[in-house]
């Protein structure tokens, strides 16, 4: 049997695999530690604080410019969703009353049996 052609890159690929395994193990252990959790959640808390401060400043600025805030736009979005759902229901009712139905696709029969196991 012929010898497979040795691949000069195989050594580097093997090294990469080993590095990945090691990085996942060492990194994983580090990330499981309480210190890491504390650090990452500290960073998250700082981000949230900045976000809250930005929201407050933007809310004041938008109110001063007589424009709706994000929460007001969200309320409008919720109401719009309610209206959309109502429109869909009304449309379905009107179509049913007018006798308009979508063309039915041919439905398959439902009598299939599993193949006999040999």
């Amino acid at each position: 049997m012929a010898n497979p052609t040795p691949d000069p890159g195989a050594f580097l690929r093997d090294m990469l695999g080993q590095w990945e395994t090691m990085a996942n193990q060492v990194g994983g252990q580090m990330m499981k530690s309480g210190e890491f959790a504390r650090a990452i959640q500290g960073a998250n808390a700082a981000t949230m604080q900045a976000q809250t401060a930005t929201h407050q400043i933007m809310d004041r600025a938008l109110a001063a410019a007589n424009m709706p805030s994000r929460s007001e736009v969200e309320d409008l979005s919720a109401r719009l969703r309610g209206i959309e759902e109502s429109v869909v229901r009304i449309e379905a009712l009107l179509m049913a009353q007018a006798g308009i139905t979508k063309p039915e696709r041919p439905k398959p029969s439902r009598t299939r049996k599993p193949p006999v196991k040999g």
Binding site: G9, L16, A23, A37, I40, Q51, V73, R110, R112, K113
Partner: protein, 357 residues
Amino acid sequence: MTEAAAPDVFDQARALFDRAIQRNFKGLGYFASPAPVLGASPKDLLIQRGTMNLYHYRPMTDDVYRVPLLLVMATTNRGYIFDMVPGQSLVEYLLRAGYDVFMLDWTAPRADEKTLTLADYVTDFLPTAIERVQAETGEQDFSLVGYCFGGVLSLLWAALHPDAPMKNLVCFTTPVDFSQMEMFQSWSDKRFFDVDRLVDTFGNCPADYLYSAFDMLKPGAKIAGNIRLLDNLWNDEFVKSFRMFDRWATDTLPLAGEYFRETTKRLMWDNALHSGTMDVAGRPVDLATITAPFLHVTAEHDHIVPSAASAPLIEMIGSTDKEQVTMKGGHVSLVAGGNAIKRLWPKLIDWLGDRST
């Protein structure tokens, strides 16, 4: 003979040179070409309600199994993991095997959907989808197949409806003992993680936050993956597969704020599902009330839901016809890709076939 087949230095150099050239050409093509089209199996959208989508895939056979099958996707990711590209699609595989396939899939919850709770998913979205499947097929019986947290939603619904005509329940890599998800436990450590503040600040839990959490489970994977991509740019199949999975993995969904708050507190902190204290909208959840035939498939190298987190499920289910299978692979390669085509998919249709008539 061995001498004749011995590698020639010139041939090796030529092969390396060819690959280097192809890497350059195809590398340019990689950045210039659009991402592959995923999830393109023909289907009809039956319900679209905010974050909830219910699809019906068009049957590929004239005669299907009597019992329809509803796939329930995890709320953190897109359902096209089940329908990547032709030839690598679980949906297509099921359709060709004669199943009538539906999928409950999710889109990013809108800002005004931040108030959705676990109860909305379990007692509204899931039963609404099931009712529509029943109406569409004219069959009361159905099979539920849940992936990861889609499995948790399916379990919660099934436990609350022991008399429902659920013919079969299949879970893929579904956690029940959340105390064993060590990395997630560490990050959601209640001493440092203020879930109330996160939800109150952002409304919905941002997708970036969840993506980072998944990404950090394997800190070396991204760098190694990109180096492997560079090394294999000459290989079209490798590049195609890499792009599919990379696109899916980065396409993480945000989670509805109240739902995230509740799952963090009840499942991650209280481990309520495993300790038997779980309730949904005040109704107690007892997995022992589930008596339908049950299959649970877990992955040997699952870094997201380790075996210790998913293994206790089989004992908690009340069914007499139940089976637990652990297959080679990881959390994603269990359900999609070459590994899944060889292992999970044939097992699934083999198990379901006898139970879907």
